[in-house]
Subunit: 485 residues, 2 copies
């Protein structure tokens, strides 16, 4: 998919070149050019736009100019933006408000928002129709009734003690984490944790990362001046013996994101040894550790050495990204720095949501919800595998033992056209190329990352059908008309 952007960027670039030489700012020219490209159909609905940086380089404009233009077009409804998944052309491309600045007024209605794609199989979010509203409200009510007045005064940057105690107990039980509440710092999610740790000098770059990973994390780290150094992957996860002179490495040990499997046991031990020998630290992004289907969950790497591993987690996959709560489980020596950074510079996460989550966990409702969702997602995974076996038996699904997404492996060179075929059928998903570190020298893999958790239950069947219809035809699908004997 990344390659397709070269094409798009060039096409836009040459158009823009004409526009950018016209009177007015480059920002305005870029907005016009992009708007025209969408309106004229050259950028189809669902199409992912190139990252700010690439387009800025292509066009010879400042990165902020591109960011600004994208944001303006998002506000206008031409584009949609989504954390971790970039900016795309909106499905509904009627302008939602005048492109020129409207006279000041106080509208009584909120503007309609652009709708998403018809079939959303992008990775990264749980089924938003499955949020446990009743259980959450019950926990929220109990927490609010029980809260002492001091809850409504100035807060502790570490987070509410009720939540840290509940997390310590839960993470020990569910993920094998070894910690205590005083080593847990509540934050808004894993991205927030990374920014806190690297933006305030608690940790310093360069940071080793897996050669395939979330571009959003790389970009966030780059914005904090942290260089990321890719280490290659094989079927057993990151080749940790390739770690260089970095002092910190970010891994997804339970379920490599996005390619699939857990980090091999020997490598788990090896990376902890590496951290001990170098005085370094392993950041464990435990992004979907609760969702394992076919065998016992892989415990957190953190348990191997709580003084050498920082565990990062959140409820973004287990509950909803709308509940902006995550956590860092820290070695003792980082607690002071993390609190100092957070206390001075950071807004705290919603105190009432923290109390509600603590109640949800201690009441057992969180476990019940996770179990229910695990069953639901396992059933969806099974339907995906069955659908492939029927309609595209030549395509293998990887990384399916756990998580909220699968990777459909494709023959070399076919990923880009497969993504485009999916977009034409109204299916939004990403190719593996989206997640590839630009500096890695490991051979590229072709594949589609299918987020099977994202659609609501009733929409999943149609999404699966559309996906199967868009997959490249294998040889096995050529109608074999046997010659009469």
């Amino acid at each position: 998919m990344a390659e397709s952007w070269v094409n798009h960027a060039e096409r836009i670039g040459s158009d823009l070149h004409l526009e950018l030489s016209a009177p007015g700012s480059r920002r305005a020219a870029l907005i016009r050019a992009l708007r025209e490209a969408v309106r004229g159909g050259r950028l189809a609905p669902g199409t992912r736009l190139p990252p700010y940086r690439s387009l800025a380089v292509d066009l010879g404009v400042a990165r902020n100019t591109v960011a600004d233009a994208y944001a303006e077009l998002v506000a206008e409804g031409w584009l949609t933006s989504r954390q971790g998944s970039g900016t795309r052309v909106a499905e509904r491309t009627e302008p939602l408000r005048p492109a020129v600045s409207a006279p000041l007024k106080t509208p009584v209605k909120t503007p309609a928002r652009a709708r998403g794609p018809r079939h959303d199989l992008r990775q990264g979010t749980p089924d938003s129709s499955a949020f446990p509203r009743a259980a959450w409200l019950a926990s929220y009510r109990r927490a609010l009734h029980r809260a002492p007045n001091e809850v409504f005064g100035p807060g502790d940057p570490a987070g509410r003690p009720e939540l840290r105690a509940a997390l310590a107990e839960y993470l020990a039980r569910a993920r094998g984490v070894r910690t205590e509440p005083d080593r847990i710092v509540v934050c808004s999610g894993v991205a927030h944790a990374l920014r806190l740790l690297f933006g305030s000098g608690v940790l310093r770059g360069p940071l080793a990362v897996e050669a395939y990973g979330l571009p959003f994390h790389r970009e966030l780290l780059a914005a904090e001046g942290v260089r990321t150094v890719p280490i290659p992957l094989d079927e057993h996860g990151a080749l940790v013996d390739r770690l260089g002179r970095e002092r910190a490495v970010l891994l997804t040990p339970a379920h490599q994101f996005p390619t699939g499997g857990p980090l091999h046991a020997e490598r788990r031990a090896a990376v902890v040894d590496w951290a001990r020998a170098r005085g370094g630290v392993v950041l464990e992004d435990d992004y979907d550790g609760e969702f394992r289907y076919d065998r016992k969950p892989v415990g957190a790497l953190q348990s191997l050495d709580p003084e050498r591993v920082i565990l990062l987690g959140s409820v973004s996959k287990s509950l909803s990204p709308a509940v902006r709560l995550g956590w860092m489980v820290l070695p003792q020596r980082y607690v002071g720095d993390a609190l100092a950074a957070k206390g001075e510079r950071e807004a705290w996460a919603s105190i009432l949501d923290q109390l509600a989550l603590a109640d949800l966990i201690t009441s057992g409702a969180y476990d019940r919800h996770v179990r229910r969702m695990r069953q639901r997602y396992r059933a969806r995974r099974d339907r995906l595998v069955a659908g492939l076996a029927e309609h595209a038996p030549h395509i293998e699904a990887g990384g399916i033992a756990a998580g909220l997404h699968a990777v459909l492996r494709l023959p070399p060179g076919t990923e880009r056209s497969a993504v485009q075929a999916a977009v034409r059928r109204g299916v939004a998903l990403d190719g593996l190329a989206e997640f590839r570190h630009p500096d890695t020298d490991m051979p590229a893999r072709d594949g589609l990352v299918v987020g099977y958790a994202t659609p609501s239950e009733h929409a999943y069947g149609a999404a699966l059908e559309a996906l199967c219809g868009a997959l490249p035809q294998g040889e096995a699908r050529v109608p074999a008309t046997p010659a009469p004997s």
Copy 2:
């Protein structure tokens, strides 16, 4: 009060000098020295510690070392930390957990927290016992029931449209703000807004600020590499004709923080003219705009020119700092940049809290709560003024027409001893010196900043009594024994 820290810092500094030459890290030595100073009683409960930077300079250690030591001692319960008001010695100085690293375990109980001072008259927070729990829960329940599923999916970095529409209507009605929902960006509070705007290059320093203001804001900006340039104040607010070559100025036009009155009408016009002439921008921190007692509220400066003023607000004073919600009302030209900065780098504020606040506002419950609190705080202010008239008639209270705090004006050179006398009586409050910009050349003012909103209703009388008992005795208080004629 700042001067008193020189003393403290010197005392600690000389002790520490001995400690710091001992084996072990300077961090550990500093922690030991501070702990001993508290344990030995040289640093009394409630005492405010010097800012990181000052102590770091005094001791010749890195600023992070001091921050780290403070954070560690906060975690241990020796110190307490509070956003915007620095670090103080905890009232309860028994160590709450072992100073050395405890073996890893999962405690079943949360550790007790250090209690605050006996009488808390620090500025900055509303009465935490007055949070409208029932109204908030009702709004939260309605919002949760009404929320479409997409609420639980990936969010819009601008914030929920329901909240932005409610804020546009409310701010227009209550504060005279001229805007529309698409120009409002939801964030976690004013400090968060400043960090977003300056940390991501939406605005650039240097930033002109009032010579008296919140140290927390200055420190946050300094951490983002933004130099603040103080402009002097008189009884009509900031001397905006002293604005230099900066392109941005941060003001508190409705109620200068902390010294008192509103910005004079001529200066309101002048600063907007300045922004127009320089292509600059005014940041309006409308931190307590809703709380005006004796006359019609001063409308937001923003209404003079919505393209030249950024209004910053939050519910931290009107509801609680525990509800981590604030907003930026932006000129059109900054909206794109602010969204780009937020979308790429920032966690969003709690979506459910956003929906609850939107309901609280549109249902009228927010207005009712603000009116109720306005009456309560006005009554407290009246009691403060009456108490002063009776017990300390020589002391004048300033800045009392609005807000949640008053300034008790003191004779030159008496502030430090007045703060110390208050601390001895268990009253926590700040002297004006705490808020003075270190680079200003305007003459220092002596005064006590009395936050009369902070105590709960039943505790206010005792706090007031303790305060009055601690005030310096004026000549009028010398018993006048008339000579027999």
